[in-house]
């Protein structure tokens, strides 16, 4: 990368900070995939299968409206060594996964890692909601066709990687979300099926237009941050996992998308936090809130960037100001 490019990028960042912005990334406005969980058969907490083991992969699909049925198509293959862009297969695919059920389930598939596996595996595919997934899609060359659905339906192209543990150092367990707090209090309210009429329900309520900055904190369970040996060329370094934690919401008001658990609990360094935390305020919503209240759904996804991931959903009830 040229230094001039970097300069431009930096200036761009500065200008972006001053100008108009599209919808924030954390805002859920439609169906979208916010992650994938990997669970080894017989050891569900482990995200990295060994050669010869099977792994269950589940795509975390969320949407603003009520869940709908979906279909999906996935191919699994050995990845080519690429530096940028969407990866592609090295050779022919070795497995396929197709899902087309009337039930409302998250897209998922199982993959049996070949006994002679020597590296990670990649998967490419598409998910279609409210329609039929496009089986003619060539997931190794998306430029040929980019429509995940045949006819109607809204979909998303996807890629992923199944990390295979070649040794004990590469064995990785998914992090686990231990507790979520809202304004310092444990927050356990899960989203109801109904999107409105929550004012009389048990959900914690916040008032529309309230400029209070509520603190949302997420603790990782003990042992979630594993230590491993990072190999960089000829160097080997002992590293403790960092846990990027993404926050999503169905209404505006979150401070941002990410908070990273990467620090010592006693540290005052803002970029080194022992727990994930973001603020939320209820005055960013641009439209009036229904008299009966509106459910705001939050999705929190914690990952360790080595294939491990955990996810919880929470909800608030937004009520109009009296």
């Amino acid at each position: 990368m040229r230094l001039r490019t970097l300069t431009t990028m930096l200036l761009g960042i500065g200008l972006i900070a001053c100008g108009d912005q599209p919808d924030p990334t954390y805002l859920i406005t439609k169906a979208r995939i916010i992650g994938a969980t990997y669970a080894v058969d017989g050891d569900a907490g482990r995200a990295t299968p060994r050669a010869g083991e099977s792994v269950h992969v589940e795509l975390l699909l969320t949407q603003k409206e009520d869940p709908t049925a979906n279909s999906w198509a996935i191919i699994i293959c050995e990845p080519a060594e690429t530096s940028f862009g969407v990866g592609f297969c090295e050779g022919e695919p070795i497995a396929f996964a197709i899902g087309d059920t009337p039930e409302v389930v998250r897209p998922n598939f199982d993959f049996a890692v070949p006994a002679d596996a020597t590296g990670d595996y990649a998967f490419f595919g598409a998910v279609c909601l409210g329609g039929q997934v496009n089986l003619d899609l060539n997931p190794t060359d998306f430029e040929e066709s980019v429509n995940p659905c045949v006819g109607d339906g809204v979909g998303q192209l996807l890629s992923g990687a199944i990390a295979v543990a070649a040794n004990d150092n590469e064995v990785n367990h998914s992090p686990r979300i231990a507790e979520v707090r809202f304004d310092g209090e444990p927050w356990t309210d899960e989203p109801p099926m109904e999107r409105t009429g929550c004012a009389d329900g048990p959900l914690r309520q916040v008032t529309f237009g309230d400029a209070t900055e509520w603190e949302i904190e997420v603790d990782a369970a003990e042992g979630s941050r594993e230590a491993f040996i990072e190999v960089d060329g000829e160097e080997m370094n002992a590293v403790i996992e960092e846990l990027p934690t993404a926050f999503y919401a169905t209404e505006k008001g979150l401070e941002g998308l990410y908070s990273v658990i990467d620090g010592d609990p006693d540290s005052e360094d803002r970029t080194a936090t022992p727990f994930a935390n973001l603020t939320y305020r209820a005055d960013d919503i641009e439209e009036e809130v229904e008299a009966g209240g509106r459910v705001i759904r939050f999705e929190i996804v914690m990952r360790d960037d080595r294939g491990g991931m955990d996810h919880v959903s929470r909800a608030l009830c937004l009520v109009p100001a009296t």
């Binding site: 300069t7 960042i13 100008g19 599209p22 969407v86 401070e255 998308l257």
Partner: protein
């Protein structure tokens, strides 16, 4: 002040004796009158000595004559020159009316005194002598005394109107330029005077009505110069002009807006220069000479005003700026608002958009050559400038008889403005901060030698804080900072071997550093100890053949520490860098060595036809390959005012260092190649107005492009390029006018083809580039100007979908092809208003330079949402008013 030497003039002092009337005309009684000197007849003496008889009858009352109108005699020139003084005794007969009836010399003094005295006295008028009140004629003795007078203290000069005087000096050594014709014309063209400077180079126009005057200096050796001056009633306007001797002849000016310069043939087909008189007056540049390049045809507009140099559809890294023949690592500070060298130290800026000389190599785009001038040797001069953008000061002065020096410094003010103007919550914790400095010394130990020592540098720093909430990629967080600096020490020696041979040696030693950090995700720390060496020998074999040969080499140790994503190709990169996957950590400590040899034969087979044949051999240590580029340019003067020109040549450029690095790229890469073809015509419609039309075609091959997905070997020489277009230019030069102007229009298309893909548009392809600049000098030191730019929007991508990585939650855009859409038309108007006040010893100027006067929200690109289904435009720089004050002595 009035430079004339006051001549010791002869002063005539008279003394005459009228106290005694030596002989009364007629029969009246004689009287005795006291007198200062004996000057009467013997009769009067008798009377004076006669005893007084109290019983005698009452004597009539006699009043002697006295001078009523004195006439000054002309001091005899020879006597004055010889320093002689004298007194002439005369007998003067005065009539009853007081007139001089007769005069004769009694005691000759010679040397012309007698005649002069008689001639004067005969024109005297007297009050007649009276007796008892009645006038009567008398004859008196009168002595006229000639006496040299000491110069009296000069009385304060009364200047009912105004006076314009000045001195014309040679810029190179401060010597007076004599026998120069100076023509003064009043603003209404009614008054016109003409004179020639004296031995001291001075000229004086006296008794001028107040107002503005156009002053033209006409020389053969120094060319012509036009200035507008203000004359104020009761004041002396004293000016000093420094004129540079015209280029003695190595290169011809194919000038864009150049003064009338006739030189030997060109080494380039197209060389566009801006005269110094206009360099600092281009609206929208804040008087920055290097930014004036933006108005030239063939120069595209960089996005966000980043200062990137995009010449004739070439990538910024394909072009180079040179200072006295050695590379300048950066031309502008951050934001492109200011260049890194004080404009007032520049002598000339030459812009070669293509088909440039074999003197320049390792680039396939265009070249900008910056020549600095010698500091003034005629005394101390200085200029200081303060604006909301930056503050600067420059001083120049002689060092003994044969040397002179200049020192300058500049520091940005933007950060101070940011701190006090911008809100606190936008994430920017530090605005761009820059400074630069220059220390130049020129020494001429002999008439045939000129030594130059240039020490200059620049430092840019920019930092922002990206906290968790701003980034959508958790890998990009923390502090982001960019520092770019260089310190260069340059030595130049020019030696003249007789009249026909010149040796130029330029040596550079520099430390260039660049640091970029983006939290833990990205780190770039580069230190470059660059040395460059150029030795060039020019020999005029005869009137038709000139030969040039040179060595151009660089030896550059460097260290780099890098962590971040693998770099992709410099232009046309299809994907954003991935900060999560494939991040690498890399360190290198190596030496780059690039020697080259070049030669040129500048031939005039017959008078109207000139041709320059050249060639250049390059070697690059990193890729271990030689290269040879032949080049040719030619001109044909088909009429006195019309010239045809054309050229063709090969140009080569080594890959970027990371592209041919064995770890980051492919060490088997070869030279990037290009061929330039151009042809055009220049027509001097009338003196000072030139039209030009030129067509060009450039073919590129062996471009370095990424392999699909960046798989090994990551980079290959499989890219092609083609650029073609036409440039139309018109310029009205400032010489002899109150205004000047430039108009340029470029129609071009620049395309690339990457490793077998379809042809696509170049990242910065701009089909239409139109620039109109004009500046007008109003009376009383006012000047106003404007620059209008209309430019096609840069190409951009149109995503047709996206792919989400479910592990990292990153979205990658899917584009049907690169650069398939364009940003809207860019348009912007800049204006500049300046008011100058001229005092006896210094000048003051107040200026307002406004970029983007009507605050057009020009779209520079799009910001997409996470999955590329929603976008909002990124707009460029808003209105930037820069109010400033400048003082000069």
């Amino acid at each position: 002040m009035n430079g004339g030497i006051e001549t010791l003039r002869g002063c005539v002092r008279f003394a005459f004796l009228v106290a005694a009337l030596a002989g009364l005309v007629g029969s009246g009684p004689k009287s005795a009158v006291a007198q200062d000197a004996p000057a009467d007849t013997g009769a009067s003496e008798d009377a004076a000595e006669a005893p007084v008889d109290p019983d005698a009858p009452v004597e009539p009352v006699i009043v002697p004559p006295s001078v009523a109108e004195f006439v000054e005699a002309t001091y005899p020139p020879e006597a004055e020159e010889a320093g002689l003084e004298a007194g002439v005794d005369m007998a003067v007969t005065i009539g009853v009316e007081g007139e001089v009836v007769d005069a004769e010399v009694l005691q000759p003094a010679g040397h012309g005194f007698d005649e002069a005295a008689l001639e004067a006295v005969r024109r005297f008028r007297f009050t007649p002598a009276t007796r008892d009140g009645e006038p009567f004629a008398v004859r008196i003795r009168y002595r006229y005394v000639f006496e040299l007078r000491e110069p009296e203290p000069e009385a304060p000069e009364v200047i009912p109107a105004g006076r314009l005087e000045g001195q014309i000096l040679a810029e190179e050594d401060g010597a007076p330029i004599t026998a120069v014709e100076v023509v003064l014309t009043s603003e209404d063209q009614v008054l016109a005077r003409r004179m020639v400077t004296g031995e001291d180079g001075r000229f004086v126009f006296e008794e001028l009505p107040a107002g503005a005057y156009d002053l033209r200096v006409i020389t053969t050796e120094y060319g012509e110069m036009d200035q507008r001056e203000e004359v104020i009633a009761g004041e002396i306007t004293d000016v000093t002009y420094r004129m540079a001797i015209l280029d003695s002849g190595e290169e011809e000016e194919f000038t864009y807006g150049a003064s009338a310069v006739i030189d030997p043939p060109p080494r380039e087909v197209t060389r566009r220069s801006i005269p110094r008189a206009a360099l600092t007056r281009i609206p929208g540049t804040r008087g920055d000479a290097l930014r004036a390049i933006e108005i030239l045809p063939g120069v595209a507009r960089p996005p966000f005003g980043t200062g990137q140099l995009i010449i004739r559809g070439s990538s910024p890294q394909d072009s180079q700026v040179f200072v006295e023949g050695v590379p300048l690592p950066q031309i502008y500070h951050f934001g492109g608002l200011t260049s890194v060298i004080n404009s007032r130290l520049l002598d000339r800026i030459d812009f070669f958009p293509g088909n440039f000389s074999a003197r320049y190599g390792r680039k396939i785009g265009g070249v900008v050559e910056v020549d600095v001038r010698d500091p003034s040797r005629d005394g101390f001069h200085g200029v200081a400038e303060l604006s909301v953008i930056d503050v600067s000061a420059l001083a120049e002065f002689p060092l003994g008889e044969n040397a002179s020096a200049a020192v300058g410094v500049r520091r940005s003010m933007i950060d101070l403005v940011f701190e006090n103007v911008l809100p606190d919550d936008i994430g920017v914790v530090a605005a761009p901060v820059y400074y630069d400095y220059q220390a130049f010394v020129t020494y001429r130990p002999t008439p045939n030698d000129r030594l130059r020592f240039l020490f200059y540098g620049s430092n840019d720093r920019f930092a922002i804080n990206i906290d968790d909430s701003l980034g959508d990629d958790p890998a990009i967080r923390g502090n982001a900072s960019l520092t770019q600096r260089f310190n260069q020490l340059q030595f130049g020696w020019r030696h003249q071997f007789g009249a026909d041979t010149t040796l130029d040696i330029d040596v550079l030693g520099a430390l260039q550093q660049a640091n970029f950090g983006l939290g833990d995700a990205f780190g770039f720390d580069l230190d470059v100890w660059q040395t460059s060496h150029r030795v060039e020998l020019t020999h005029q074999a005869n009137s038709r053949v000139r030969l040039i040969a040179g060595i151009d080499s660089s030896l550059t140790p460097y260290t780099l520490n890098y962590n971040g994503p693998r770099p992709g190709q410099a232009e046309g990169e299809q994907e954003d860098p991935d900060f999560n996957d494939d991040a690498i950590t890399y360190s290198v400590n190596d030496v780059s060595y690039r020697p080259a040899f070049y030669f040129e034969a500048d031939l005039r087979p017959f008078e109207p036809w000139q041709v320059v044949l050249g060639g250049r051999v390059d070697y690059d240590r990193q890729i271990r390959r030689f290269n040879f580029d032949p080049r040719m340019v030619t001109t044909l003067q088909v009429a006195d005012t019309v010239r045809l020109k054309g050229g063709a040549g090969m140009f080569s450029q080594p890959p970027e260092f990371y592209e041919s690095d064995p770890v980051l790229g492919n060490e088997e890469l070869g030279w990037i190649r290009g061929a330039h073809f151009g042809a055009g015509i220049d027509w001097d419609v009338v003196p000072g107005i030139r039209l030009g039309v030129e067509g060009f075609y450039k073919r590129l091959w062996n471009r370095v492009v990424s392999t699909p997905g960046g798989v090994a070997p990551r980079f290959v020489n499989d890219g092609l390029g083609r650029i073609y277009g036409a440039e139309v230019s018109a310029r009205v030069s400032p010489e002899g006018r109150r205004w000047f102007g430039y108009l340029s229009y470029t129609l071009s298309r620049s395309e690339r083809r990457d490793a077998g893909d379809e042809w696509r548009l170049f990242d910065f392809d701009q089909t239409h580039i139109f620039t109109l600049t004009a500046s007008y000098q109003l009376p009383r030191g006012w000047e106003i100007g404007g620059t209008l730019r209309l430019v096609s929007g840069n190409p951009s991508n149109q995503p047709i979908g996206s792919v989400v990585d479910v592990n990292t939650l990153d979205y990658t855009a899917i584009n049907s092809a690169l650069n398939t859409r364009r940003n809207p038309l860019f348009h912007r108007l800049d204006i500049r208003i300046e008011k100058k006040w001229t005092f006896d010893a210094w000048r003051l100027a107040l200026f307002l330079d406004i970029q983007n006067v009507y605050n057009q929200q020009n779209q520079e690109g799009l910001i997409f949402n996470y999955d590329f289904t929603q976008s909002v435009p990124i707009t460029g720089l808003p209105i930037i008013p820069a109010l400033g004050l400048r003082g000069e002595i």
